[in-house]
């Protein structure tokens, strides 16, 4: 993910206003574009190859009186590894941050020519099973939100959508989390002072989809023309994805536990050393060094712990929601079968 390093923050203290936006409104075009971008990458198998999730930029405007963030268009951002085809591209061109930055500004310029809203309002990313809490996402969100308070990230879950429910969620950092990220201080004390838990780092915003009138005409026409393909979510066989998500969250959970344990142990060691200092003295420098080490390791550590916790939570939520749905499906099929049997015995 890229960072707007050129928009470096000059002031030490930033006055963070309350974000004015309470809901996110997406144009139906944006929904289709995001889904198409992510799905076509899956289709051609690219997401496995590149190892970087598909992402893009959202453009739109803020309707201040309505407290809405309207997203009217979006475009995908290129990946850092480019698959070479044809003679136009030189071999092994890797795009660095600046390159990506110019690409984005170029695209925005073109949007302006075509009368499309060109104001950046956020970015979107695709994540399987909704586990979107990575360090890069948080960093990018910090960048966006320091420039304009109302940037959001839209997370799209392609696995869920394949099973029949479009899964698009909008997140942004809470104010407290934003302050902490800016000061770069993630030690346990600061976090405890700000009363942050892993759930309160990101807040979710409700998403609404809006169509224009002409779009409505087009959509109703499409409804008549299309051969109806019912979405496959009524199938009973969703065990495969559950297995995958289950194993993923087990791993996440283990990592989180390990991190947490190591943190706790380090703090214990720190306390012990502090107690020891009251006793016959060792050389002060050595002790200070030892005291420092546990501090440094936990600087970024708190954040990681939170992220892992959120990821594990996301997996767990996904698993529980899907199992609930499947249980419902099972009951439905049971009642259908009972009805069939009754009719058999009657007839």
């Amino acid at each position: 993910m890229f960072r707007f390093t050129s928009f470096a923050i000059m002031a030490d203290k930033i006055i963070l206003n309350e974000a004015k936006v309470k809901t996110v409104q997406l144009d139906c075009l944006v929904v289709m574009k995001i889904i198409k971008h992510v799905d076509s990458e899956f289709y051609s198998g690219m997401s496995e190859v590149a190892g970087e999730t598909c992402a893009g930029i959202l453009t739109g405007l803020i309707a201040a009186d309505d407290h809405r963030l309207e997203v009217t268009n979006c475009f995908p951002t290129p990946r850092s590894e480019v698959l070479i085809e044809g003679e136009e591209f030189s071999q092994g061109v890797l795009q660095n941050d600046d390159g990506k930055h110019t690409e984005i500004t170029d695209m925005l310029k073109r949007f302006r020519e075509m009368n499309i809203d060109y104001e950046l309002v956020g970015f979107y990313q695709a994540h399987k099973f909704g586990a979107c809490f990575t360090q890069e996402v948080i960093d990018s969100l910090v960048d966006y939100q320091t420039i304009f308070q109302d940037g959001v990230v839209i997370v799209y879950d392609p696995v869920r959508t394949r099973q029949g429910q479009v899964s698009l969620r909008a997140f942004r950092l809470t104010n407290k989390a934003l302050e902490l990220s800016i000061s770069g201080d993630w030690s346990p004390e600061a976090v405890a002072a700000a009363k942050l838990t892993h759930e309160t780092i990101l807040e979710e915003l409700p998403v609404v989809i809006k169509n224009s009138h002409l779009m409505n005409v087009m959509l109703s026409q499409l409804g008549l023309v299309r051969k109806t393909k019912p979405a496959p979510f009524l199938e009973l066989g969703t065990r495969r994805s559950l297995e995958k998500s289950y194993s993923k969250y087990v791993n996440e959970k283990q990592r989180y536990d390990a991190l947490l344990n190591s943190l706790i142990q380090k703090r214990q060691a720190e306390n012990d050393q502090r107690a020891q200092r009251n006793e016959p003295p060792l050389s002060l420098d050595e002790i200070k060094r030892q005291l420092k080490v546990p501090q440094l390791l936990t600087r970024g550590g708190m954040m990681d712990i939170f992220l892992n916790a959120s990821n594990a939570g996301a997996f767990a939520n996904y698993a529980s929601e899907v199992t609930n749905e499947n249980i419902a499906k099972l009951f439905i099929s049971e009642s259908v079968a009972n009805a069939v049997e009754e009719s058999h015995t009657r007839a």
Partner: protein
């Protein structure tokens, strides 16, 4: 001579065309028209159009049409970088009748496509039109037409070029279909909005829909049996037979009971574990704080 090609258009393309029409420039000779490039890929006998973008164009007072070539190339390169599997397959124009300008635009696009393509000499280029003027003939529709330009003439001499219409199908990737269903619900609401629905509600909707379909099928079967005049569609009869057969065999009581019991057991276990994880996460927060 009918060409065997079919054009499969993805819904995103149509929506983008409508959107670029809505944002068209309102002055000059190009009033009420939007033009752009189509991206997609070729399959056997099918041209799949999966994406498109609008480009600025104008018609000078002298009647000469102009397209911003640099813009087109830049957008094309950007699109190639994000989705290398797509290539330029044609162009779109929101106009009701083809005019002489179309010929010139088409020339331009054939040039651009042949400069970019490396394999064949000339892949077929598609022109997609969308008629946004609600004229009498279209009856409130937005007719979508696709054309292929081909040479025609007598005795192997090409006298002229003709735009031949091609059949258009609407097709989408799996995720796109699901999203389209969701968006179409916005057609029925007053504020043209839809809220994303998670949880058990979509299942309830799906079941309702299934019930509707079943009722329709029942009505149809009753009618056919009662009247004896309607042509009996044997394919439908065979399909119904298949469905009833599978239902009868798969839903036999003991097999079905086993299936349900096992699945239920698995699902409750997973649900329990997931809730356990959540509980553990919630517990550790106060530990961290202390």
């Amino acid at each position: 001579m009918a060409s065997p090609l079919t054009v499969k258009v993805h819904p995103l393309v149509l929506l983008t065309m409508v959107d670029s029409y809505e944002r068209r420039s309102k002055k000059g000779a190009t009033k009420d028209q939007a033009l752009g490039t189509l991206m997609g890929f070729y399959e056997k006998n099918v041209i799949q159009v999966t994406d498109c973008y609008a480009i600025p164009f104008r018609v000078t007072p002298g009647g000469m049409p102009e397209i911003d070539d640099a813009f087109n190339r830049e957008m094309y390169h950007a699109a190639r970088r994000t989705t290398p599997s797509e290539q330029m397959v044609g162009w779109f124009f929101t106009v009701s009748d083809l005019s002489s300008h179309c010929e010139q635009f088409h020339n331009y696009f054939s040039q651009v496509v042949s400069s970019f393509s490396v394999r064949r000499d000339q892949p077929p280029i598609v022109l997609l039109t969308l008629d946004v003027n609600f004229t009498e003939g279209s009856k409130g529709n937005l007719p979508i037409r696709a054309f292929l330009r081909s040479e025609c003439g007598l005795q192997k001499q090409s006298h002229a070029r003709v735009f031949q219409p091609l059949p258009v199908d609407i097709e989408g990737f799996q995720g796109e279909n699901v999203a389209l269903d969701l968006i179409m619900k916005g057609v029925y609401s007053n504020t043209r909005e839809t809220v994303l629905d998670v949880g058990l509600n979509p299942i309830a909707d799906g079941v309702d829909q299934m019930i509707q379909w079943l009722e329709r099928i029942l009505k149809y079967v009753d009618e056919v049996l009662a009247k004896d005049e309607l042509p009996e569609d044997s394919t439908i009869g065979r399909r119904l037979n298949e469905i009833v057969d599978t239902a009868a065999t798969l839903l036999q009581s003991d097999k079905r009971d086993n299936l349900i019991k096992n699945s239920l057991r698995d699902y409750t276990m997973i649900s329990y574990l997931a809730n356990l994880t959540n509980a553990q996460l919630a517990l550790e927060d106060p530990i961290i704080k202390s």
